[in-house]
């Protein structure tokens, strides 16, 4: 089930993105190579999460956590950095382009990307899965197992798109709001991992050694992905403020703005 859904989505994304790249190339438009690399790496994370050996051993709790790190954290961040909607908006025929633009600006999308709701879905999902009997149920029912991973992947995507996505997004919070969202979700993730360790959760997750290994992998693995998100977000901030800064300098002309930072800025940047 998980394999089927995962692999068909990987194939679809790859084909769609590839077609977009070809069309841009034919038009002679450049597309940042980093975005293509991010897409391939993101899809590789999805594939690794739904294929053997991971999928064969995901009833072992720490393997399940690894799968979760790949599908719900690493893959969404990389996919958000690959800008698939930007590519689609640039290359789709006019009619479908207008449809996509309408969908992206629709009320449901604006609602789904509200930081408070994204945080609730993301953190609430973790709490429900691990601190109630839900995790034990996923071991018995394949469809529930697949559904849980789908939920985690989708909420992970919402979070990644809000915080570090390169696609345009209506009514997206500013850098401060995005940074605060990241801090809250990272702190909640760390707290929940330590809670699992402390209270021998989740129920039905096998021997204590597996559960402890899983909780620690969640704690430290989560830190790595959150750190990468912070670097991506601040990199975007640095570039955006750099553009603004150069605009200010240009507007100020050769005389430059008054005050120490203005004079100093001229010395430092124009050289």
């Amino acid at each position: 089930m998980l394999e089927l859904v995962g692999l068909s989505s990987v194939a679809t994304w790859l084909a769609g993105y590839g077609a977009g790249l070809l069309r841009l190339r034919r038009r002679g438009v450049r597309w940042p190579a980093g975005r293509t690399v991010a897409l391939v790496a993101g899809l590789a994370c999805v594939a690794a999460g739904v294929l053997p050996p991971v999928v064969d051993h995901d009833e072992t709790f720490w393997v399940h956590v690894g799968q979760h790190l790949l599908l719900a954290m690493a893959a969404p961040v990389l996919l958000a950095l690959s800008g698939p909607f930007t590519l689609a908006l640039r290359t789709l025929p006019r009619r479908s382009r207008r449809l996509l633009l309408g969908a992206l600006h629709s009320t449901p999308v604006a609602f789904a990307t509200t930081p408070a709701l994204v945080l609730l879905l993301d953190i609430g999902g973790l709490v429900l899965l691990y601190t109630t009997g839900t995790y034990a149920l996923t071991l018995q029912h394949d469809w529930l197992h697949a559904l849980v991973h789908l939920h985690m992947f989708l909420t992970g995507c919402l979070l990644a798109w809000v915080v570090v996505g390169v696609d345009p997004m209506p009514r997206r919070p500013g850098f401060g709001g995005r940074l605060a969202t990241l801090v809250i979700v990272a702190a909640a993730h760390d707290t929940i991992s330590k809670l699992l360790y402390a209270h021998d959760l989740p129920v039905g997750a096998g021997p204590a050694s597996d559960r402890h290994a899983g909780a620690q992998l969640m704690y430290y693995g989560g830190t790595v992905v959150d750190l990468a998100m912070a670097v991506a977000l601040m990199g975007q901030w640095y570039r955006a403020t750099g553009r603004e800064h150069r605009r200010t300098l240009r507007r100020a002309g050769p005389g430059g703005p008054a005050g120490p930072s203005g004079a100093a800025a001229r010395d430092g940047v124009v050289r």
Partner: protein, 169 residues
Amino acid sequence: MSTQGGGVPDLGTAGDTRRTALSGVLCGIGVAAFVDETVFHQLLHWHHFYDRSTAAAGLVSDGLFHAGGFIAIVVGLFLLADAQRRRAFVPKRWAAGLLVGCGGFQLYDGVIQHKVLGLHQIRYHVTLWPYDVTWDVIAAVMVLVGTLLFRGRARVAGPGLFAVRRGDG
């Protein structure tokens, strides 16, 4: 610490230096969180991931500072790069912020997290109080020295500090 640029004006304590100080504080919190995690948890194995006396509030506080500390250092370094790009980076104020952030976090860790919330102790199976006193005194000295560095005159760093060029960023 830096090449002092000729003709760069001296700065007082307000305005332009605020972002430099914020960058220092964030980097300081990050350094303290990083040293705590790598040295005391991973290398020395003095700190324990969890000990049975931890209160629920301790877990939340730990989660916030673990995640927040690592993100703080990233934000702090980007703010530093931005301040230098604007030629508004003041090394003395940055050092002041660094010491206050680092000492402040260590003091919070030592007093609130270790003692009040019982997250974990500095070390196990030893007489604990010399460790606690050393930990907290080092922290307090850092905060004190940092506070002193906020006083007096300070100069912005020269352009050669990171060799920033036009078009960078």
